[in-house]
Subunit: 208 residues, 2 copies
C-alpha cells in the first residue's frame, strides 16, 4: 500500500508527522515523501525533510496525506500541489488532509459540495472554495478524510487506520504511540479558549 | 534561546515533532537539529531529517529535547547521545525527553534518584537505570522535564512552554495547533486498553 506524504516549503511539520507516525509503521505501507523536487524541504520552524520522489514521478498512491501550513495561500497560488492532486486523487483509495491542507484539496476540486473540516480559523476560507464545512475534528466522506488543525492529524489518521485495517489495528497503534492526551491547558478549541485569545489567534492566522 | 532537537537513526519522528511544533515557533527560539554527523537521519518509518549541526560542534543549548525510538537499547549501547548529554546538560536551563528518550537521560546520569516518566511499556527499564519512575504523563523535576510515550511530547512541550513563557503563551500555542484531542478510540493508555492488547504491545516493545 503506497502512502504519499506531500511536502512543500513552510508546511507545518506536525500536520504530516502525526499521520506519518500512525500510518507509516503499518506493515502493508510503503511511505513516499513527495515534493516538487528532490531538494530538502524546510518546514515551518526549520525542520528540514528529504523527499523520496517528486510530483512528476509519482503518479499514483493508495493513500494521500496533504498537510497544511501558514503559507497555504501562496501554495494555492503556485498551484503545483493541486495540479498533482488532480492527477493522483482518481488513483487513490483515500485522499486526506490536515489543517489548511484542505484548501489544496478544494483547489483540486476534490471537496466540491463535500463535507470537510479544516483549521478552526480557516472555516470561511474553505467554505469559499466549495466545501460544506464541518466543525468536526475529523470528517470522513466517501474516500476523502479531512482533519481539523495541526494536532488533529493524529485523530484523522487513527480514524483512517480503523477504516483501512480495522479497529483492533487502530487501537494497537494508539497504545504504541501512547496517545492518551492530557493537555495541560483547555485552550485547544475556539469553544474552550477565551474569546480574546480566539480573536487574537484568528488575527494572526487570517490577518484580520 | 537555543533549542537543541536531538536526532539519531530510527528515532520516533513524532517524539521530536510534537515538541518542535510547540517550541520551534516561539519568537525567542533558534532551533538546532543535532546529530552525530550532517548526514540525513532516517527516522523510524522512513521520514528523513537533515541535521543542522553535530554533537561535536554544538556544546551548549538552553533547551534540549531528546526523542525516543524503538532502537533505544542500541542507542544506549552506542553511547554517543549520552556522551553529548553529559557535556551539554550542565549548560541547559531545561533538559527534556519524550518516550524512551528518558533512558538516554538516565544513561547520562541526569535522572539518578529523580522522578521521571517514559513510555508505559518501558517503566521497568527506566527504573533499572536509576530514575524514580512516575506513571504521570509529564514530570517536571527542577530543570528536567520528561514525557510519556510518543504523543506525550505535545503535552510535555506545552507544559514546558508554560514554564518558560507563561500560561498565556502556552494557551496561544495550543489554540494555534488546535490541540483539542478527540481520540477515536480509548486504547491510548494501559489503564484503558484491553489487558490482551496491553500484553501484546508490551511484548512487541520490550520483547517479552
Amino acid at each position: 500500500m503506497d502512502v504519499a506524504f506531500v511536502l512543500y516549503p513552510d508546511m507545518t511539520a506536525l500536520d504530516l508527522v502525526g499521520p506519518y507516525e500512525v500510518l507509516g509503521h503499518q506493515p502493508e505501507v510503503t511511505a513516499h515523501f513527495v515534493a516538487a523536487s528532490l531538494d530538502p524541504v524546510r518546514t515551518d520552524a526549520g525542520l528540514t525533510i528529504m523527499p523520496t520522489t517528486t510530483f512528476d514521478v509519482l503518479d499514483r498512491a493508495d493513500v494521500i496525506v496533504v498537510p497544511g501550513g501558514a503559507a497555504w495561500a501562496e501554495v494555492l497560488e503556485e498551484g503545483v500541489v493541486a495540479a498533482w492532486l488532480r492527477k493522483v486523487h482518481p488513483t487513490a483509495t483515500w485522499t486526506t488532509s490536515v489543517c489548511s491542507g484542505s484548501t489544496l484539496l478544494a483547489q483540486a476540486g476534490i471537496l466540491d459540495g463535500r463535507p470537510a473540516t479544516t483549521h478552526w480559523a480557516l472555516r470561511d476560507e474553505l467554505a469559499a472554495r466549495g466545501a460544506v464545512v464541518s466543525t468536526d475534528r475529523v470528517v470522513v466522506d466517501g474516500s476523502v478524510v479531512t482533519g481539523a488543525g495541526v494536532a488533529a492529524g493524529i485523530d484523522m489518521a487513527l480514524t483512517l487506520a480503523g477504516r483501512i485495517w480495522g479497529d483492533d489495528r487502530a487501537e494497537f497503534t494508539q497504545l504504541v504511540i501512547e496517545y492518551d492526551p492530557r493537555p495541560p491547558y483547555r485552550a485547544g478549541s475556539p469553544e474552550t479558549a477565551s474569546a480574546e485569545l480566539v480573536a487574537f489567534v484568528r488575527g494572526v492566522i487570517v490577518g484580520s
